[in-house]
């Protein structure tokens, strides 16, 4: 075997890994809004922090109201709503490291059925993973043996600092250069809801009948949830484990939906989602299922979003109560 060629390949791969490592670590410290915000907030005060995570369904929570309610209960905790539009556990996993560095006392994560939609059941290539997973290890497990022998080498700081999805970091970097002005506007550094800007013009409430008609016109189909292979559910469990390993209490809540949305889902999908919530609960995590709590209320601006104005305050009131309950528990 030609030593020169082999060395060229090995050094080439080594150089690429170093360059990759530098790129991955250079990006967040320069542009990542979550990193910028956590660095900013880190030394602001020593008060215990409660962080709300989730998508726009969590983003519509009135954080000022929740903060006031917490204070009115004689607590010093600071509440921050770190919701981002179209949040997914795999996306959240990219920045959970920075968030956990703030050492919050508690994380309230708002999840929803959409996050787990279609994960696996439509991807042909994932069928193979399912196929492999169905093969029982009647004989000794070679994969386990191989990985135990080889991979302790990768269990060090160098590898753990590499993001779980480098693609997202790369895309954010590209977007930063391509759309610099838009990007910076997504961070309101002094707000208690820094990544989710509510527009000045509050969306109006719509009657359930009106929502139903609008939704039927769209003629959309829910793509189902695959309970066996679900990348997002796996990422959620990883997130919970990571936060718990840093002594951060995690509370999960299923964000509320309108009856139009709930009727649109199949009962099978609802059962699978309930089973997911049960699985989380069985691992010792408190779970609040708010899915159908306000299903028939007149507080919806679309079939999944509670209106942001005072008319939808019931949602924020309930979450505020739960936060205080959990703090006092």
């Amino acid at each position: 075997m030609n030593l020169k060629i082999s060395l060229t390949v090995l050094i080439g791969i080594f150089v690429a890994i170093i360059a990759f490592y530098v790129i991955m670590n250079w990006y967040p410290s320069n542009f990542d809004p979550v990193y910028t915000w956590t660095e900013h907030i880190k030394n602001e005060s020593d008060n215990p922090k409660i962080l709300l995570l989730g998508s726009s369904h969590t983003g519509v929570l009135d954080t000022n109201y929740i903060q006031k309610y917490v204070i009115s209960n004689g607590l010093e905790h600071e509440v921050y709503n770190l919701a981002i539009a179209s949040d997914y556990p795999t996306r959240r996993a990219q920045t959970i490291g920075y968030i956990s560095e703030l050492k919050p006392e508690m994380v309230f994560y708002g999840i929803e059925i959409r996050m787990f939609e279609g994960q696996g059941n439509v991807k042909q290539e994932q069928l193979t993973a399912l196929q492999i997973s169905e093969i029982k290890n009647v004989m000794p497990n070679a994969k386990e043996f191989f990985q135990k022998t080889v991979f302790p080498l990768t269990d060090n700081d160098f590898f753990t600092k590499i993001p779980k999805s480098p693609k997202i970091v790369t895309l954010q970097t590209i977007k930063h250069f391509v759309r610099d002005s838009n990007h910076t506007s997504s961070l309101d550094i002094n707000s208690n809801r820094p990544f989710f800007n509510i527009k000045n013009e509050v969306s109006p409430i719509k009657e359930l009948e009106e929502l139903k008609k609008e939704w039927e016109l769209k003629n959309l189909k829910f793509n189902g949830i695959n309970p066996q292979i679900n990348r997002e559910f796996d990422a959620l469990k990883d997130l919970i484990r990571e936060l718990e390993s840093k002594n951060i209490k995690v509370v999960i809540f299923a964000t509320p939906k309108s009856s139009v949305y709930l009727n649109w889902l199949t009962s099978e999908d609802k059962v699978i989602f309930d089973q997911m919530l049960e699985e989380i609960e069985e691992s010792g995590i408190t779970v609040y299922n708010e899915y159908d709590t306000y299903a028939n209320y007149n507080i919806w601006t679309d079939i999944v979003h509670v209106v942001e104005s005072k008319l939808g305050i019931v949602y924020s009131e309930d979450i505020a109560k739960k936060i205080v309950e959990e703090i006092k528990r």
Partner: protein, 488 residues
């Protein structure tokens, strides 16, 4: 074991190092066989028994066919081999599908039949290695091939790890002579496995392109495909067309990427595997497409199915029926599902219709316009229009979704509502489709570009390795999607 995992990289480096360090021929061959079995056992565990059983059955049946001069005995032995191999394939791959159809029919006729499913784990690569072993016994039966002299060599032919789980489907006549010093089948001493410099550099270059196709292109175009075809109802025509093109590129990047890695890895070890893809999206007719796409499967189907059925030697009608039947089975080979059957039948009808047109209008086929550049471009566009239509059937399993998507693909609605949304939320995938098309046009015009790259100076080649590795790393989405063709 997946090629696109660190596990494979470690495995391959260890195998190469041991082969390079210990030059004792017999050891090298036994080691390569053991490594291949380990590669398979790694993700298939006890199902390795099927691989070994299939190997033993065909080795001894092949030898018995060769040794007997009695034609009836030869036939019986061939049937034993076919029943063994196809029985294995049918039982593990199609049993539950057959039960489902049987239960459905029972329901229609109120027979109250409800046979429980077997829920068998599908052995990985079974479609590939059973086709290899079938071709071995059939070739011996036809007197075209002398049986392998040793079980070890035959076992290595069946289990050779680069091509074991997703091809190319190698013929014994192509592989077995490579284990010996002389070209003739079974003659000469056992060949020493030497890692030659030229093979090493070319093999790594081919593998690098394979990884790029799979991990940079296919894996990053996949989200766009999923986005469109996970819920296609409501999408406008241009979105469906984009989805079909994206899936065509994804499956090509995925499968030809796998084949490149297999061919490169085998070449480093000194083995030549047959080419499986030859710029299929530049095909100018359906038959040209099948000379360029999954070549090892299409030639297998031609030699062991189409020709025995009579090929084109009988009536025109019989030829068209043969083409459709062969492609129907080719579709079924991909999986126990109606969408693969529809895909196969579509391709069968393309081939038949093309043949009818050529037969009925020979002047059109020989028209000088089709020899010109514009004529060729037009032929490519027409052919690919139908190829991508068939990809919809391959990708979309739900019947309603499939029919909706295909009708939108054929009957354009000229709406642009969803296409804008889809492009906006999948800019990277759309950009990669553009990049892939440009790259392929360059590769089409510049012949042998991979060989040329493998011959550049070492310092330039170093930058090639760094660039490819870096592109793969920075676009890694956080999980390794399995190769689509592993499931077949």
């Amino acid at each position: 074991m997946l090629f696109s995992t660190i596990d494979f990289v470690v495995f391959f480096i260890v195998v190469l190092s041991i082969i390079a360090a210990i030059r004792y021929k017999k050891f090298q061959h036994v080691f390569l066989l053991s490594a291949s079995y380990f590669f398979f056992y790694y993700s298939s565990n006890y199902l390795i028994i099927l691989l070994i059983a299939s190997t033993i059955l065909d080795f001894y049946v092949g030898r018995a066919i060769w040794n007997t001069s009695h034609i009836t005995k030869k036939k019986i032995l061939l049937i034993v081999s076919l029943v063994g191999n196809l029985g294995l394939l049918g039982f593990f791959k199609y049993a539950d599908f057959a039960i489902l159809q049987f239960n459905y029919l029972g329901e229609q006729f109120n027979l109250a039949s409800d046979i429980p499913f077997l829920n068998l784990a599908l052995p990985i690569g079974i479609s590939f290695y059973t086709f290899q072993t079938i071709s071995y016994t059939v070739d011996i039966y036809r007197g075209k091939l002398k049986p392998s002299e040793s079980l070890r060599e035959f076992a290595l032919f069946v289990a050779f790890f680069p091509q074991l789980v997703a091809g190319p489907i190698v013929r014994a006549s192509e592989f077995l002579p490579q284990l010996r010093e002389k070209i003739e089948m079974g003659s000469g001493n056992l060949k020493q496995i030497i890692i030659h410099n030229s093979n090493l550099k070319l093999g790594i270059t081919i593998m690098a392109f394979g990884f790029l196709k799979k991990m940079f292109f296919a894996d990053n175009i996949a989200p766009l495909v999923d986005n469109i075809f996970s819920n296609p109802i409501g999408m406008d025509s241009f979105t469906i067309i984009l989805g079909a093109v994206a899936f065509g590129i994804q499956i090509y990047g995925d499968f030809s990427g796998y084949t490149d890695i297999a061919i490169g890895a085998a070449l480093i070890l000194g083995f030549k595997l047959p080419m499986n893809f030859n710029k299929p999206y530049f095909a100018t007719s359906p038959s040209d497409f099948w000379r360029r796409w999954h070549i090892s499967l299409s030639t297998w189907l031609r030699d062991y199915l189409y020709i025995p059925l009579g090929g084109n030697k009988k009536s025109h009608v019989r030829t068209y029926a043969n083409l459709t039947a062969v492609m129907f089975l080719g579709g079924l080979w991909h999986g126990a599902s109606w969408n693969f059957i529809i895909w196969g039948v579509l391709h069968g009808s393309y081939l038949a219709i093309h043949k009818i047109l050529v037969n009925k209008f020979p002047s059109l086929a020989n028209n000088l316009f089709f020899k010109t550049k514009s004529g060729k471009i037009l032929s490519i566009f027409i052919t690919q229009y139908f190829i991508f239509l068939a990809w919809i059937a391959f990708r979309v399993k739900d019947t309603d979704d499939m029919l909706y998507s295909m009708s939108k693909y054929v009957f354009l609605d000229f709406q642009t509502i969803t296409i804008k949304q889809v492009i906006n939320s999948n800019e990277v995938s759309v950009g990669l489709i553009g990049l892939f098309i440009i790259t392929n046009i360059i590769l089409y015009k510049q012949k042998n570009i991979i060989e040329k790259i493998s011959k550049i100076q070492l310092w330039k080649w170093f930058f090639f390795i760094v660039t490819i590795t870096l592109l793969i790393l920075i676009s890694f989405a956080g999980n390794t999607d399995d190769f689509i063709y592993f499931q077949f």
